[in-house]
Symmetry: C2
Subunit: 335 residues, 2 copies
């Protein structure tokens, strides 16, 4: 038996925003699994800001997606065939399945999901990469302490909204930055002490009003002007956590750097980058901590699920950079 699988491959590297020339959609057949392999029917695909970086032919923390290769993507789904001892047909799993309807992967590369704790969508959000990113960025890189003032950009996004809620649970004062009244309202709902609308202008003034004693931890998901405003608002000994720079990911040239970086000197502060995959050994710690917050009702994970199947992937990805989502952005593929 085999499975028909529509998939999206990288046809050409984009400059600027990906467009129709970037992708090729085709349908292939996925064969029976070989020893140790499984076939997964992909139900949900994760849309991640980092995806744009994977399209560039540059040295980074993961190799770029090759021309003609299936676009890399996290996803969740159900095992429909297994030649792996510990994985059964019907298991609900997550993994790097790629943008396709069916994935033939090594059993060692899938993670079985505890759907009693949370639905698969949450396992791609607060309990998945975005949640792990939020947890280790805040705890290990940012070293957030009770009483700290924590500023988070893209606070309505998958990572940012988890940072807001983790920081509140940690006893921090939390300021979230988001774009537009709807997102700002949701950031307040998730427990932020102050939610700032960067689209309303006067960002630096707004941050300073919200953090008159300065920011102890700035969790940066966006780069650009927001990073500069945050740098100008630090407290002494502040930690800037470099998680992402979504504002510049689709720029055709390298965007400007943070002009205010010498604030790091004035405030004796640090700016530190990290890559969540380095913390893989400690994911169980983060899953336990976040899972406990979800179970006890102290964290409300949210996901925005787009429909339209595999063919909708190119448009869904652009939606991510336009900021259509509150919480984690997912694409429903099947199921």
């Amino acid at each position: 038996m085999s499975w028909s699988s529509t998939q999206v491959t990288l046809a050409a590297r984009p400059t600027g925003y990906p467009d129709e020339s970037t992708w090729e959609v085709a349908t292939t057949e996925v064969p029976e699994p070989g020893p140790g392999q499984v076939v997964v029917r992909v139900d949900l695909l994760s849309l991640d800001p980092a995806m744009r970086g994977w399209l560039n032919d540059v040295r980074s923390y993961v190799p770029p997606v090759g021309i003609g290769e299936v676009m890399r993507a996290f996803g969740s789904g159900e095992v429909v065939a297994s030649a792996h001892d510990e994985i059964a047909v019907g298991d609900v799993v997550s993994g790097v399945f790629g943008v396709r309807e069916h994935a033939l992967v090594d059993g060692a590369e899938v993670t079985r999901l505890d759907t009693d704790l949370a639905p698969p969508s949450t396992w791609l959000g607060a309990l998945g990469m975005p949640g792990m990113t939020a947890y280790f960025g805040l705890e290990d890189v940012g070293r957030a302490q009770p009483g700290d003032t924590v500023l988070v950009s893209a606070a309505a996004g998958a990572v940012g909204s988890t940072v807001v809620q983790l920081a509140k649970a940690r006893g921090c004062r939390v300021i979230g930055i988001a774009g537009g009244p709807e997102k700002v309202a949701w950031v307040e709902e998730t427990g932020a002490d102050v939610a700032i609308d960067y689209k309303a202008g006067g960002l630096l003034k707004q941050i300073r009003a919200a953090a008159p004693d300065g920011v102890d931890v700035y969790f940066d998901n966006v780069g650009g002007e927001v990073l500069d405003a945050a740098l100008a608002s630090l407290a002494r000994g502040a930690r800037v956590v470099l998680c992402g720079a979504i504002s510049g990911y689709n720029d055709e040239t390298l965007p400007d750097g943070p002009r205010r970086y010498m604030s790091l000197l004035v405030f004796r502060a640090s700016m530190t980058g990290f890559v969540v995959f380095d913390y893989e050994d400690r994911y169980p710690e983060a899953v336990a901590a976040i899972g406990e917050l979800i179970t006890s009702g102290r964290m409300q994970p949210r996901e925005t699920v787009l429909t339209g199947g595999i063919e909708a992937f190119p448009e869904a990805l652009l939606g991510l950079y336009r900021g259509v989502n509150t919480g984690k952005l997912l694409l429903q593929v099947s199921g």
Copy 2:
């Protein structure tokens, strides 16, 4: 009795490089010291890159020099009158004396110099602020370990040349960046494994050739393009020590930020600012370590001493930003 003292005050805040309108030179009389005070005849003035920042009316780690105030400067000299119990006429001392020939200061604010260990000029260089800056930046902020590859910019300057020699003594592989063949030759003389001439072009290529496995500690004294080239050449887990940004201190607008700052994420690296005054309690530790290297011949401090007296200060300061010095730049005032 009183002492005639020519002094330089700040007449107007400069935009860009200071010029004749920036300064006012005048002669005043310095009176007998009151209780606890001393009068110092200033022999040597320290010219420091940070001086330019002290002229700007902005919030920083020290207040700006006020209009009409004597320009702030470190210096060394001899006590010519004392009303302080523990300081005697004839003592050789250093302190923040300002740009003037005689300074009336609190005895608590002067440091007696051990001229058996090194001459006063060295107490303003490798054993003074630049040396303290090099030591704590490399040891505490950079956490340099034996075997690390350490890259230093302005490696022929007061701080940079001390970093080069401290890092060599620490067992690091050291790459120094300087401008022009003469400075490069001296950086090699001080023990750098590789000395790079940034004026020769192809800086990124030169750094990568010198550090094929990447840079573990980058000690940044200059900012600008050199910082960007260093960021693109980091090793995993690298520490960027933000000590200064002399390349932009005289810019009329805030210079561009480091475009390559997202390298911090790719390389899981940090960029940390510091201010040497925070380490005041630990200066004796640094003086002991550097003094030992000097005594044992493993460090050759160097100073460039300009002449011309107090009136030569404005020109001497510009010389600093043009890079006329190898090692510490000083102005001989008297003595």
